[in-house]
Symmetry: C2
Subunit: 201 residues, 2 copies
């Protein structure tokens, strides 16, 4: 499981989508949310958009691996698809915030193997301009997202990796290197254990 | 500090030399040894070749980060060059065996940040043929090296990463991905801490 977090406006969503496109063994986890759908967003693709009552039912039935309430809207990761993909040998990518990352890291059993990456914007001015360029958002929304960005940034040191998203192609290479290296960890290379036995005869 | 270990004949020395050539921030640690110089080997490059008395003096003066006695010959890593390179911000590569890797992992202070990679040969027959192809070695030397290979292989699970050296270009890419990812670990990106502070204002 690969968790990508960043302050809103650092380019995380673009990066995670591209990364998943380039690696057939990676699958994006689609979160549930109670917030209003933005123009251009597709239900079931960007998020599963649900009513507050349905979301609370999922919480009650322990159907969520993690969830958080952010500015009055719920966001959460459904448990079943993740468990299914992991059982198929896939690696699952999560585009979630520090609260979700913390909850995911506390999971046990089949969902305890988490690698987390924190993505930084190239500069403060770049962050601000990216936050402002989403035309459909009101000024108060931009302001609240900037304070949220500051809160998110304060948790960077809880992540395994940290990187600056200067240039998207370079950042994709960086993420691919992290994925490649993590798959080579001895603890994950269980298929090689028998191979080693065959070498020693 | 990057430790590369493998059974003799898995291609580790070729890989580590090539890796260091391609990355100006990597420096190869040159070990001291009391064994006889082989044809083609250069003193100060492949090893520092020294007498047993001199080697024991280095042990007594705590000048070695790690050392081991293998088939009657001493091998060891000098402390001072490593400390100097690390202080310069370089990453140091070690071509050592599991005994050296264990001792290095127990170091504290300026020399405690170790990443270890275990390199496997593509197959048992490949391993055997590589061990036999060193013409200058006697049959008994080949046999003892094969038993040493088996001993080395039994320690693969003490390493952070494990990889199969099927094809040298592919293996170099793999090692580069590990180095790239490890440098992105949050704990090592101390220069980014101030950058994050500047983002949060």
């Amino acid at each position: 499981m690969l968790v990508l977090s960043s302050p809103s406006g650092a380019g995380k969503t673009t990066l995670s989508k591209k990364l998943v496109e380039l690696d057939s063994n990676l699958i994006m986890s689609t979160s549930f949310t109670t917030r209003t759908k933005r123009v251009g967003e597709k239900d079931g693709q960007d998020y599963h958009f649900v009513k507050v009552g349905d979301f609370k039912e999922m919480i009650g039935e322990n159907q969520l691996l993690e969830y958080a309430l952010v500015f009055g809207n719920y966001y959460g990761t459904p448990r079943l698809p993740v468990e299914k993909y992991l059982a198929q040998g896939k690696d699952v990518v999560f585009d979630i915030d520090w609260q979700g990352a913390q909850q995911l890291a506390q999971q046990k059993g089949s969902v305890e193997d988490v690698v987390s990456v924190f993505i930084l914007p190239p500069s403060a001015s770049e962050l601000e301009s990216r936050l402002k360029s989403r035309n459909q958002d009101s000024i108060s929304e931009v302001e609240s997202r900037m304070s949220q960005a500051a809160s998110e940034l304060s948790h960077y040191d809880e992540y395994n990796y940290i990187m600056v998203n200067n240039e998207i192609e370079e950042s994709i290479k960086t993420l691919k290197a992290i994925v490649k290296a993590e798959r080579l960890k001895t603890s994950r290379q269980t298929d090689l254990h028998k191979f080693v036995e065959s070498l020693t005869g």
